[in-house]
């Protein structure tokens, strides 16, 4: 309850600034129309009212975006091609698959890196290099290559999504699996524990907080990957497709609604991971 007030204050401030920006940015069109019609310059109050509900505003107002979100989620059959629930689900399914692949790959690489000196020396530079390539540049190529292999739809998007999400997991898990200090390792050595014993009994549990921190970054990156993966597919389905078709037809309200849908989905997924984290760490006795 104590958190509500500051949050509301921030939200209210953003909404106010947003309206101000919408008036400023959309008024140009109003003045333009008036000049073209040869009419007098409209009064300021009229300008303001005419910036609120334009068809193709430069910046849609909050209530327009809200209405569009409402209409395309609750006010529409889920099967409709214009339903954001439908498009959202297309993107979420690719995100989740990509996230699973990326996390699995990231964990495997991290395990390899901490146990194998050659991998330790060689994998990290490549992993870092892979993230410096703009994903927008590489996504169309992945789509094309996979398409020629007969893979379409979900899988190519999931692979782009995995491409973005494995990295934070590798970095976090390497750090996490290496987090036990020398004393802890020495202790296991006095028990003559095997490498596998040390891994399961010490390294894995110690890495849990690091893993969850990485997963939160990773799932957000996965979503970005899935959306980017939808852009070159010719805008068939998914939040990325909504963004693309919105920009084709100058439907700014639709673009903003899709953007907000993506943000809400991302926030929701991060919150879910946060809950799993809390539950896991509590079960492990690591939350007081």
């Amino acid at each position: 309850m104590r958190n509500i007030l500051p949050i509301l204050t921030v939200v209210a401030t953003i909404v106010v600034l947003w309206y101000l920006a919408a008036v400023k940015l959309n008024s140009a069109w109003v003045y333009d129309q008036a000049t073209r019609a040869g009419a007098d310059m409209p009064a300021f109050s009229q300008v303001v009212s005419e910036t609120m509900n334009q068809d193709r505003p430069v910046l849609p107002t909050p209530h327009q975006v809200g209405a569009e979100l409402w209409k395309s989620t609750v006010g529409m059959a889920v099967t409709s091609k214009r339903s954001l629930v439908y498009h959202g689900w297309v993107t979420i399914s690719a995100t989740l698959l990509g996230f699973a692949i990326g996390t699995g790959l990231g964990v495997l690489l991290a395990v390899g890196i901490i146990h194998n000196r050659a991998m330790d020396m060689s994998v990290m530079p490549w992993a870092i290099a892979s993230q410096t390539i703009p994903i927008l540049a590489i996504a169309p190529m992945i789509i094309v290559v996979l398409n020629s292999l007969g893979l379409q739809g979900l899988v190519p998007k999931a692979i782009i999504s995995a491409y973005l999400s494995f990295f934070p997991v590798v970095v976090g898990m390497v750090k996490g699996l290496r987090s036990p200090d020398q004393m802890q390792l020495d202790l296991l050595k006095t028990y003559n524990a095997s490498a596998a014993g040390a891994f399961w009994k010490l390294r894995v549990p110690s890495s849990m907080p690091y893993l969850f921190a990485s997963l939160k970054v990773g799932i957000a990156a996965s979503l970005v990957g899935a959306i980017v993966g939808e852009l070159p597919t010719g805008a068939v389905a998914g939040l990325g497709a909504r963004l693309l078709s919105g920009s084709y037809y100058g439907q700014t309200v639709q673009i903003w609604a899709a953007l907000f849908a993506a943000a809400i989905v991302a926030a929701g997924m991060v919150i879910v991971i946060g809950l799993i984290e809390k539950g896991t760490l509590r079960r492990m006795g690591m939350v007081r």
Partner: protein, 278 residues
């Protein structure tokens, strides 16, 4: 494995026929660390024999190699010269036969395991079956007077209790040799006194051999049958004192004349080792 028969045992038989075979035997042990700014002579010509059932304290100023010597015994460091045997084996063989329990300066309990879970850790690794694990946990918890705390997590216990839990963990698999590196270093005097008393009782009950590092002269004298005084740069043994105190030691033995005399000798040894800079 512990009775010395076999090829190299025959020669030793004559010496060991009366006294029990030594648990630890160091001959001209040297250890030099290569560091960025030159070699550090952490142990120089260390000779020491520790018999079964002894309580041996290592005392000396910081950096004199107490920890290093204990770690050599535990095969966590490798000496650069000399010989060291543990139960007649090399330290590494002894480690593999799980000959000792090691208690580090920090309790080092796993925060994600309960106290019982922490004590089970070595038992799981060594492959004890479930029922055996449970009964051993119960037994050692009683031994360190933590009965009923098995289900608590480490952060729910005081520092002293955590340290006792870490001792319980080292006791759980019944190694005959217990190596303890300043286990009570971070605790206040009163808790320390209690734990010292408990440790003595435990030692009397279990008849283990104990190697114990400390900075405190009264602690060393109160606990030990043998006090090893060390001095730094290079780390070496300057005096080995066999305590004449009886095995039964109430806390007020510390006011007895004998006790004060030994403490005095330890202090002299420490001062001599320190040269002029004291």
């Amino acid at each position: 494995m512990r009775d010395l028969t076999g090829p190299e045992g025959d020669g030793l038989m004559k010496d060991t026929i009366n006294a029990a075979a030594p648990v630890i035997e160091a001959r001209n042990l040297n250890l030099t660390f290569d560091t960025a700014d030159g070699a550090v002579h952490a142990l120089k010509d260390v000779n020491l024999t520790i018999g079964k059932g002894e309580f041996v304290s290592f005392i000396g100023p910081s950096g004199c190699g107490k920890t290093t010597f204990l770690r050599c015994i535990a095969a966590l460091e490798t000496p650069t010269a000399g010989t060291l045997t543990v139960n007649g084996m090399t330290p590494d063989e002894a480690r593999k036969s799980r000959a000792y329990g090691y208690v580090f300066q920090a309790a080092g309990l796993y925060p994600w395991r309960t106290i019982a879970g922490n004590i089970k850790l070595p038992l799981e690794i060594m492959g004890f079956d479930r029922a055996e694990q449970e009964s051993r946990v119960e037994r050692v918890l009683e031994l360190v007077e933590l009965k009923g705390f098995g289900k608590k997590f480490p952060w729910q216990l005081s520092g002293g209790m955590q340290q006792r839990a870490s001792i319980a963990r080292a006791l759980a698999f019944d190694a005959d040799l217990l190596l303890m590196d300043e286990p009570f270093g971070a605790l206040d005097e009163i808790v320390r006194d209690r734990l010292n008393e408990e440790l003595l009782k435990l030692w009397a009950r279990t008849e283990k051999t104990i190697g114990f590092v400390t900075h405190s002269i009264p602690e060393a004298v109160y606990l030990s049958t043998k006090i090893v005084v060390m001095s730094p740069r290079p780390g070496r043994i300057t005096d080995v004192i066999d305590s004449p105190l009886p095995k039964e030691r109430p806390l007020d033995i510390r006011d007895s004349r004998e006790f004060i005399e030994i403490a005095h000798r330890v202090r002299e040894g420490l001062r001599a080792g320190h040269g002029d800079d004291m």
